[in-house]
């Protein structure tokens, strides 16, 4: 059932030009970063050769792409997630799902899975970009692995926030704004805190992501992102249940 809803959402995303535009811009921006980083790499290559343990192409070229991808996705996810529930409310099609023998959990997870599958597709495109480095070099597969895992977990977290805000309102634009503000706020949280031990920094998404981009697999980061995703999904389910109970 979850997959049936996910497939419907995926189809709806591809039926609208928005998803294609978002994917295209993502590719253009990341492709441009790839080219400039590659250029820089070639310029400094001779100096790198003299170092004892020189950073490889994965660190210099691929890691920045993943860093930029996370930022671009902060902008892109709200646009993709805003319609998930808000638009169903507005078009009064939510009744179709609620009247079907489905639990709210299945509805929310189905919508989340559909969006996440779409975002994983953009991750695959980024990996293809990284794979093009094989034309003239070799990749550090370990680092590529943590980068991919990190980005996948981040997009899951973004998507969960998007689903939640979409569940709050019947106005897709409001949902998009809320999602963007929340994600940007959490991303930039580390800038607002001068004290490095501040508990707020626990929530700073950029910190969580940084360790992945260094090739570190920290279980606390993984658990944090998984819990973060779960919390927002549970909040969405509660919100939809509240619709049924009414005020």
């Amino acid at each position: 059932m979850i997959l049936t809803i996910a497939a419907k959402e995926l189809r709806a995303l591809f039926a609208s030009p928005l998803a294609w535009v978002v994917l295209a811009f993502l590719q253009v921006i990341l492709g441009w970063i790839l080219v400039t980083r590659l250029d820089a790499f070639i310029t400094v290559q001779s100096q790198l050769m003299q170092m004892e343990t020189p950073p490889g192409i994965t660190e210099i070229v691929v890691a920045p792409i993943f860093g930029a991808a996370a930022v671009v996705l902060i902008m892109a996810v709200p646009l993709l997630s805003m319609r998930l529930i808000a638009e169903e409310r507005r078009n009064q099609t939510m009744t179709f799902l609620v009247s079907a023998p489905l639990s709210m959990t299945q509805i929310v997870l189905g919508k989340f899975t559909g969006l996440f599958a779409f975002l994983l597709l953009s991750l695959v495109l980024i990996l293809l970009m990284a794979a093009s480095m094989y034309l003239g070099g070799r990749l550090d597969l370990g680092l590529l692995g943590t980068l991919s895992l990190g980005l996948a977990l981040m997009t899951a977290a973004f998507a969960a926030v998007g689903v939640f805000f979409s569940a709050l309102t019947a106005q897709p634009v409001v949902a998009a704004t809320g999602t963007l503000a929340t994600l940007l706020g959490l991303w930039l949280l580390n800038m607002s805190q001068a004290n490095p031990d501040s508990p707020f920094l626990m929530l700073a998404l950029i910190r969580r992501y940084e360790s992945f981009t260094k090739g570190l697999l920290d279980t606390s980061d993984i658990v944090f992102l998984v819990l973060f995703t779960a919390v927002f999904l549970i909040l969405s389910i509660r919100r939809l249940d509240a619709d049924r109970l009414g005020a």
């Binding site: 009064q92 939510m94 009744t95 179709f96 609620v98 009247s99 079907a100 023998p101 049924r244």
Partner: protein, 316 residues
């Protein structure tokens, strides 16, 4: 109702729903037997849609209970919902899907096994007259066809209970006739609840009628019962009509109103409760020379009954 429990597909007991302090639905009881078409009538804002939302599990009741074929909606919502097909007031249609895609999705979500989805879609399309438009996008269909798609999604999983909320609103007369014929046909195999405020529709299609007014059930009987229902209202025709007050002064008369143009001399006479003022009226007419031309129980037109039931409180 004489139906046994096994025969009941819907049983709603003392359903109540409040929105803030406003009571939208107040202790409504409703039962539906297998194969029966129930007309659910009421003026706009009477609480029909709210009641239907509670029966279909879209809205949780503040108090009361809903059972679908013996399955409690609050305890096992998914099993209960699997037995219902619901067409809300606004048909819930995904405009960028084709009719076939949408119906297949509805079938899958309503637990139709994957292998039978194709057959279920074909059957539903055939029953709702959608055979020719399977490949069309729903958004490009006319309102009448969209309404049929809405009905098709409600019956695709062959549910025990079909609930239709004002299915003929906004359709042209031919489409209305088609949809009514379809509802009549559905009644044979499914139990149907049909909400409407169009009275002839109920007379044509339904076996039984429940009328709601201001959140409460005010009438529950068969169509025949509705036709025979009268509140003792009389139609009085006078060729030499006096002032309304003079008629109202006759003992036993509670209220008089003019029907049609004054020159016709037709009056609707509401008797006082339990009183039968015919003799008094005839005597008074002869005495004062009103030239009585017509006196009879008001033809219990279904619309009069409706008006009587729903306006009784204001009159009282």
């Amino acid at each position: 109702m004489t139906a046994t429990d096994e025969n009941l597909t819907v049983r709603a007991t003392a359903l109540t729903r409040q929105f803030g302090k406003r009571v939208a639905v107040n202790e409504v009881n409703l039962t539906l037997a297998r194969g029966e078409v129930l007309g659910f009538l009421g003026p706009n804002g009477a609480g029909k849609t709210t009641t239907m939302q509670m029966i279909t599990g879209n809205l949780a009741p503040s108090a009361g209970q809903v059972e679908i074929c013996g399955v409690d909606m609050l305890e096992r919502p998914r099993d209960a919902k699997a037995r219902i097909g619901y067409l809300p007031e606004t048909p819930p249609l995904y405009r960028d899907l084709t009719v076939n895609e949408f119906l297949a999705l509805a079938a899958r979500l309503h637990r139709v096994p994957r292998k039978q989805v194709g057959a279920a879609v074909d059957t539903a399309r055939a029953r709702c007259g959608l055979t020719d438009v399977g490949q069309r996008l729903i958004g490009t269909l006319s309102k009448g066809y969209q309404q049929r798609v809405g009905i098709a999604q409600a019956i695709i999983h062959n549910p025990d209970v079909v609930i239709l909320d004002e299915p003929t609103v906004g359709l042209d007369p031919n489409q209305i006739r088609d949809i009514r014929a379809l509802i009549r046909e559905l009644g044979g195999q499914h139990s149907v609840i049909l909400s409407t405020h169009i009275l002839p529709e109920v007379e044509q299609v339904c076996d039984r009628v429940q009328i709601m007014h201001k959140g409460s059930l005010v009438f529950n009987d068969t169509i025949a019962g509705l036709r025979h229902f009268r509140g003792g209202t009389l139609m009085l025709g006078l060729r030499q009509a006096p002032a309304v007050e003079e008629i109202a002064a006759v003992p036993g008369v509670a209220h008089v109103e003019v029907v049609g143009p004054a020159s016709d001399g037709m009056f609707r006479v509401e008797p006082e409760k339990g009183a039968d003022p015919i003799d008094a009226l005839v005597a008074r007419a002869a005495e004062r020379g009103w030239r009585l031309s017509h006196v009879a129980p008001a033809a219990s037109h279904i619309e009069d009954v409706f008006v009587q039931l729903t306006q009784r409180e204001e009159a009282a």
